[in-house]
Symmetry: C2
């Protein structure tokens, strides 16, 4: 990924980017969500792994760009990612983290200063917030936003390409739409390959291994009208599910819905 933070301006005061302000609020423990924060700025999923596993995870992301689009990476042991934001410290700048040991969450701290190590590599992965903003800007309604719930997500029978210990099925998010909006949504999200891109499926949940659309594996169910189709996008929960399944001895991720706010602009991610 070669997009750099839109504006590396001074950290001081009045001219500060909303995204930078959001990170400072997270750092100060004054934020409990990133939903709706710093509109227009890219938010990302976080995965941190020891160098020993990072190469295989990087390869996994490379092989599965739709669920795992990398928008930024740290150097080994360096918690700063200047390409994603001025003064961005991955150890403090998310509202909440998950610390994993052997595939289990053992802690959900608000910073990971005590957990940081010289061998850790941080991956920031594109997230659906970016393409949802593009859909809303085109007057396409998003059901879970209207319903004020979490997006419904499902494990599928679509296999990810494995890499080292990382393997498993793709997790998808679902948004019901009228067919003409679904067609438009394919066009709009195709422009954003670094935040999951075009849908991976439309209309026939059984054929991707979803037995009951009313029972998502993650998030909340939403109603689907008779004149709507379920539209499925590759989901950033996939890497987290894969990390859990791999039972790596140590990993850190963001807590669901509490993302890294970057200084990149959503509209700058568009390929066209």
């Amino acid at each position: 990924m070669t997009v750099f933070a839109a504006s590396q301006q001074s950290a001081a005061g009045a001219g500060m980017l909303p995204s930078h302000q959001a990170r400072l609020a997270c750092r100060a423990g004054q934020a409990d969500t990133t939903a709706g924060v710093a509109p227009g700025y890219v938010q990302g999923n976080l995965a941190i792994l020891p160098e020993k596993f990072a190469a295989a995870f990087h390869r996994f992301c490379q092989l599965n760009p739709k669920p795992c689009p990398i928008i930024g990476m740290s150097d080994v042991g360096n918690p700063m990612i200047p390409a994603l934001g001025l003064d961005l410290d991955i150890r403090t700048d998310l509202p909440r983290y998950r610390v994993w040991r052997d595939g289990e969450v053992i802690e959900e701290p608000t910073d990971i200063m005590a957990h940081w190590r010289d061998d850790l590599v941080a991956f920031v992965i594109g997230c659906s917030f970016s393409f949802e903003e593009a859909l809303l800007a085109d007057d396409i309604a998003i059901r879970h936003i209207d319903c004020k719930v979490r997006v419904p997500m499902y494990r599928t029978n679509i296999p990810c390409a494995p890499a080292g210990p990382f393997a498993g099925p793709m997790v998808v998010s679902m948004r019901p739409m009228k067919p003409k909006d679904a067609i438009r949504a394919v066009q709009i999200t195709s422009r954003f390959p670094s935040v999951h891109g075009a849908p991976v499926h439309i209309g026939l949940p059984q054929s991707i291994g979803i037995a009951d659309i009313a029972k998502p594996d993650y998030g909340d169910p939403v109603p689907i009208a008779d004149d709507e189709l379920p539209v499925f996008w590759a989901c950033g929960v996939t890497p987290q599910a894969v990390i859990a399944a791999a039972k790596v001895p140590f990993a850190i991720t963001h807590a669901p819905g509490l993302m890294l706010v970057t200084d990149l602009k959503n509209k700058h991610l568009a390929v066209l």
Copy 2:
């Protein structure tokens, strides 16, 4: 439309374009179909109307670009359309025509020399052959081609925007596809707005007024597998249906499947 014929080379002999050769064969009465003729070259639907109705028809096309994308027009009374092809004579260069009086086909001649008048305007309208070529080039199978039948077409409840006497529902063509191919087909055909562009509907035929997908209003039925969705594109039969419904005193169209072969290349119509 500002695309001009790819190559206005000499009419003589060896260097002749396949499209030009095809038109000369039509002119000589040696062609009975244009399906599969001159691969790579744009074929078009034809509608010829007296000047008195041409302005309203032009407005109808402008208002309904998905079913009626104009790729070329003649000047009033001039049967030559050099922008679409070297030496192209709209009176002779299609294999077969339909002559309409008051909404009824009264004749299906192989040329319209006897019917040509100084007040006629010819419209050449983009056709699905162009986007089907792009789909096939991307390894997306097309059911009616595999089944060796005509594409199934349906009258819908989607109203066209009316203009003067021209009004009526959109006619659509249907191709069954697996959802991932349908998504890819949206991407591919979005690049070709001058030959119907992206689909107008996916998956729920009842919601666009199609009572029985097994009974097309034009063309032939094709099988749809359980893991496929019907994908619908705006169809160039729409203007012909609208001309018939308007019962204009006089009009000429191509006969179904027997199109005008132009010197434009399909790939040059892509907007990206």
